[in-house]
């Protein structure tokens, strides 16, 4: 994907799904790998509809404006995010979404104070991550997209814990984007959560398992697509 030197990635989901953490870790890992990286959250007092968007650019060369109009890779984690991100699609966009029939946790408009940008460690959102069954996301019908569905929320709920949902997504992004090594993501995780990992080593294990699980999901989805 780095053939043209620059990959533009958008991650969109509900306020509590850890979208900004994914964006931040992804950019940090790219930076650790010696690539140019730029991450900017879509922040506000309260985003209308509660959809949180992270913009990430990874490049070999200099990066221009922090935001962009069309995404090479779009990660969509809730139904509302499908609508919210429609304008960022272009021919050939890789569309990665969570196909589990688990309801994304909606933050209603009353939830003042949940700022998109200060979304912190996934464990802080234990209660906010979706666990209830509901409608799965319906991706767009356009034929010129590469659509990849992964059962992230389902696996998080049944095999790990809903808290590591976003780390699974991050793992899948490693496989799908093909611009980063898993080791660098682990390094970024250590930088961000190192202190917590020291106190609770089981958290490291859990996060790394989630990452591995996501990497496999991403690879499986790519195989199915072919």
């Amino acid at each position: 994907m780095l053939d043209n030197g620059l990959v533009k990635i958008i991650i969109a989901g509900e306020g509590g799904q850890g979208v900004q953490t994914i964006g931040e870790l992804l950019a940090e890992a790219a930076y650790i790998s010696g690539k140019k990286a730029l991450y900017i959250p879509n922040f506000g007092v309260e985003q209308r509809g509660g959809v949180s968007i992270a913009f990430v650019q990874i490049s070999k060369g200099e990066i221009g404006a922090p935001k962009f109009q069309k995404a090479d890779l779009l990660v969509v984690l809730s139904q509302r995010s499908v609508e919210r991100t429609r304008d960022y699609l272009k021919q050939g966009t890789i569309y990665l979404y969570d196909e589990s029939n688990i309801q994304a946790p909606l933050i209603d408009d009353q939830a003042v104070g949940v700022h998109g940008y200060d979304t912190v460690a996934p464990e802080a959102f234990a209660k906010m991550v979706g666990t209830k069954e509901g409608e799965a996301i319906t991706p767009p019908k356009q034929k010129d997209l590469t659509i990849l569905g992964i059962p992230a929320a389902k696996v998080a709920k049944e095999q790990l814990t809903p808290r590591v949902f976003n780390i699974i997504i991050l793992g899948a992004l490693v496989s799908v984007s093909k611009v980063l090594e898993a080791e660098k993501i682990k390094e970024a995780l250590e930088r961000k959560l190192g202190e917590k990992f020291k106190l609770h080593p089981e958290l490291r294990k859990l996060n790394f398992e989630a990452l591995e699980s996501g990497i496999h999901m991403g690879l499986d989805a790519l195989t199915k697509e072919e």
Partner: protein, 384 residues
């Protein structure tokens, strides 16, 4: 007076050592713009920050309050921006390098103290992370504080304003801002925006002294040692005058100083095609989008130049005029996230030249490289 225990003192020294090492070793870091500003203030040897919270600059206060105590430097959260602005001036009077950071409505409230600084020639550094306006509007982003920051207040806009477009430039311009504020004694600003405040990208932090940058020290302006009249000249700082002529004489002197300063501080960035049909003028983060667009369209065969003022006050007008007057057919595009604030300055600087000026004005809205590319392609085609 609270005395520090030996343990606290030791912990501070250890932290100060760690921070100093990061600067001395020219360490590259991956951080937000707000964090960059706090580091730059530390590197520029700022003494004290006075501030009042407002998004999107809050983290400057947060990081400064985290970094500064290790070096015995201070932070005070005042009751509002009016107070933050005036306490800054008090600090400057007794010889402290003081600064503040604000945005939007906070920038408006600080104008009173900034005007006073302009009149009394008191130094200070203000970091402005522009948000949407007018009024509370958005906490996100804009370039709508260009006019307020460059020429706000009831005076002549004798201010030095840097508009930055990358974290590296933000770090370096903040250090320059401190130096030039205390060198020339005009209110000095770093005009950033919410995007730069919140985005993360790499930056090389450094100790300016190890790069042989001169760090201008702050000296007491009032409360100097010695007996006035007997041992030294008295200090007489005024912001009130009884006679028109008296004010006029003082202002004429300040304006002459301001014109002299212009020659020494004015900065800009220009580039792109050697011979050009089009010239894009943009500042700050939009300047960055413009440069990236110019590179793309020039690779597709267009001939486009760019001009990005770094000091937007004083404005590098002569440099811009030189480029434009050399090519009578050159068409100009001004792009900004405001409704003509930069555009009016460009028009003023190019007064009398016949070149066409087009504009792309998006008040309060980010501008991407793709949008500018599209316009350049359209304008380029009309030309051919």
């Amino acid at each position: 007076m609270i005395t520090e225990s030996g343990g606290v003192k030791m912990a501070k020294e250890t932290l100060a050592g760690e921070y100093q090492e990061i600067l001395n070793n020219e360490k590259e870091m991956f951080m937000t713009g707000n964090e960059v500003v706090a580091w730059a203030a530390l590197a520029a040897e700022a003494d004290f920050m006075y501030g009042y919270p407002i998004t999107p600059q809050n983290e400057i206060m947060y990081y400064w309050a985290k970094l500064a105590p290790a070096f015995g430097r201070g932070f005070l959260q005042t009751e509002d921006e009016i107070s933050a602005g005036f306490t800054m001036l008090g600090g400057a009077l007794v010889g402290k390098k003081t600064f503040s950071a604000t945005a939007g409505p906070g920038n408006i409230l600080m104008q009173e103290s900034i005007s006073m600084a302009e009149m009394m020639r008191l130094p200070g550094v203000w970091i402005i992370q522009q948000r949407g306006g007018p009024s509370t509007a958005t906490v996100i982003y804009s370039q709508q504080e260009f006019r307020l920051t460059t020429t706000g207040g009831n005076g002549e806009g004798m201010r030095l304003v840097y508009s930055t477009s990358s974290h590296q430039e933000l770090f370096e311009s903040t250090i320059k801002a401190f130096n030039n504020a205390w060198k020339y004694r005009f209110p000095t600003f770093v005009l950033g925006d919410g995007y730069q405040a919140k985005m993360r990208e790499p930056v090389v932090l450094f100790n300016p002294k190890l790069r042989n940058w001169e760090i201008i020290a702050a000296e007491p302006i009032a409360m100097k040692s010695g007996v006035p009249y007997l041992e030294r000249d008295p200090v007489h700082l005024r912001n009130t005058f009884n006679i028109e002529e008296e004010l006029y004489d003082i202002l004429s002197g300040h304006l002459a100083d301001f014109r002299r300063m212009k020659q020494e501080v004015v900065e800009w960035d220009e580039g792109g095609s050697e011979k050009a049909d089009l010239l894009v003028v943009a500042h700050g983060i939009v300047g960055r989008a413009a440069i990236s667009a110019v590179k793309t369209v020039n690779n597709q065969g267009l001939r486009v130049k760019y001009f990005r003022p770094i000091t937007v006050r004083p404005f590098p007008g002569e440099a811009l005029r030189k480029i434009v007057s050399e090519e009578p057919e050159l068409k100009i595009l001004v792009a900004e996230s405001a409704y003509g604030q930069l555009l009016s300055v460009v028009k003023e600087e190019l007064y009398g030249l016949a070149n066409t000026i087009e504009s792309y004005l998006k008040p309060g809205l980010g501008i991407t490289a793709e949008e500018i590319e599209e316009i350049l392609v359209r304008l380029g085609k009309k030309e051919g």
